[in-house]
């Protein structure tokens, strides 16, 4: 089986600081893959390099056989990688439904004049986006708040909306950056189930950054551990739990 996402030697430096050092991974289609590590380990930076937000200093990342480093975020998105943000970045003044619809914008096959003249193609496109966005809101359990401005959404729901919006881009791989941050136990359990369903029902491969060990260990099949930008362990949750280096990184790190 060929990997969906493969990186080799992915490295980025900020001034003197090597935030991520030779990040190698191979993620297979259908994986539910976790990345963990102490604060500042470089996890978010890996996502930023994968999604075109940061340009790696060196190394290669390829997705479905296409090289992705050096491409713009929009190009990477078109290839089928989507993500959420650790510090939520919703479009606050748009409604919940409209936020999800913006994810579907990139697949619109109409031009500006279709919309300005209100051609049938415009209405078809609006319906397509609305239906898809609504489906995904239902999937995430947000359909009742569809009309609310995103800024009025409670915190936990904001994270879910980010996931719905990312799914609306119809990705093959979704990168979730600490989706459970700030959620209570009940919400976390619900989120775990949702992440599984994203993989099983929507057939989207999941790459997950999460600090909540119980959640990560519970749903990921493979976990990669970063510390100071370097990979210090890779394996199943069991292997990671018993790895002395990981324990040290978390206990002795700070």
């Amino acid at each position: 089986m060929t990997a969906l996402l493969q990186t080799s030697g992915l490295t980025i430096q900020f001034g003197g600081l090597t935030a991520v050092d030779a990040f190698d991974c191979a993620i297979q289609p259908g994986d539910l893959y976790g990345i963990i590590g102490p604060n500042g380990a470089g996890k978010t930076t890996v996502f930023n390099m994968l999604t075109g937000v940061y340009l790696p200093t060196s190394g290669i990342a390829s997705f479905g056989g296409t090289r992705i480093n050096g491409r713009s975020p929009a190009q990477v998105s078109a290839l089928g990688i989507s993500r959420t943000f650790q510090n939520i970045r919703l479009f606050d003044e748009l409604s919940v439904l409209e936020n999800a619809m913006t994810g579907a914008h990139q697949h619109a096959k109409i031009n500006l004049f279709d919309s300005l003249l209100r051609t049938p193609r415009h209405y078809r496109e609006e319906k397509r986006q609305r239906d898809r966005a609504y489906e995904l809101l239902q999937f995430m359990g947000l359909e009742e708040r569809a009309g609310l401005p995103a800024r009025q959404l409670p915190y936990g729901h904001r994270r879910k909306l980010e996931i719905a919006r990312a799914l609306a881009t119809e990705p093959r791989l979704i990168c979730l950056d600490e989706p459970a941050a700030g959620m209570n136990t009940g919400e976390k359990a619900e989120l775990s189930a949702l992440i599984r369903r994203i993989r099983d029902e929507l057939k989207v491969t999941v790459l997950l950054i999460e600090h909540d060990m119980k959640l990560v260990m519970g749903i990921c099949e493979k976990i990669q551990v970063l510390d100071y930008g370097k990979t210090i362990a890779l394996g199943t949750p069991k292997e990671i739990q018993n790895n002395p280096k990981v324990v040290e990184a978390y206990l002795g790190g700070d």
Binding site: T44, V53, Y54, F85
Partner: protein
Amino acid sequence: MLELLATAEPGGTSLAQALLQQVANGIAKGSVYALIAVGYTMVYGVLQLINFAHGEVYMLGAYFSYYPAKWMGYTTDPEDPTFVPAKVPLYVVGFLFVCSMACCAFLGMLIERFAYRPLRNSSRLAALITAIGVSLLLQNGGIMLFKADPRGFPTLIEQSSVDLGLVALTNTKIIIVVVAAVMMTGLHLFVQKTRPGAAMRACSFDMRTARLMGVNVDGTIGLTFAIGSIMAAVAGVLVAMDQPTIDPLMGLMAGLKAFVAAVLGGIGSIPGAALGGLLLGVTESVVGTFSTTYAEAVAFVLLILVLLVKPSGLLGKSGREKV
């Protein structure tokens, strides 16, 4: 290039000569831009606000010395009953400068206190529009009070041409350059070496942290406006002395171009303001030898070019957004 021009043709020497002369004039012009530009740059550094009213402070700087001079009986208007074509003693000149500086400092702080402080936590756009409003207010208030037509400024210093070897400049222009150089250096030292200067730097680095560390933020912002306004006042009097006419709209273009100079040099940087001002002044003067109308466009063409190549300006620092 100059050499080439000098040896090419007999007429070449005079062209090189003329260009050199324009460079000298440009330095004088640029010194004025620099003096005004520091006000923009310091306020922008602290509040991220384009203080559109700053050009009007410069204009008022000129009027704040015109009126005291007039009341003391110094005027150039022969129609004026108080007309005395007397020579102005040096201490009076000094007094006029101080008077204008004090009035402008007060005005600058007043503007900050009543127009900008209430908006410190609103959107930057609201603050910008307010700044435009203050600018319009001062400009049109000026037109109402002083009348729109230009006024002759009293001869504070008898103008004469000074031969500097390769070029010749009027003594007023030389005074402009010297005063500007002294004031800019003084300001730079003030900001780098003194406690209030350190407070200003702290505020422009990060206002919230500065406050937490015990910096009197409101006081420091007030001081920033006062200093910027003092520099503009000096520029206003110097230009009035050199021109020697003043009008309520003189701050419009001068202010805009000084702001351009601040952006060219890198907004937030005092040496940048000096560099930007000189660059703009010299380029404008040199282009002016060929076409006076296109000289007006120089500022904006330079601005766009610099922004496209290095959006943070020549001496500005660029930041990278953390995600």
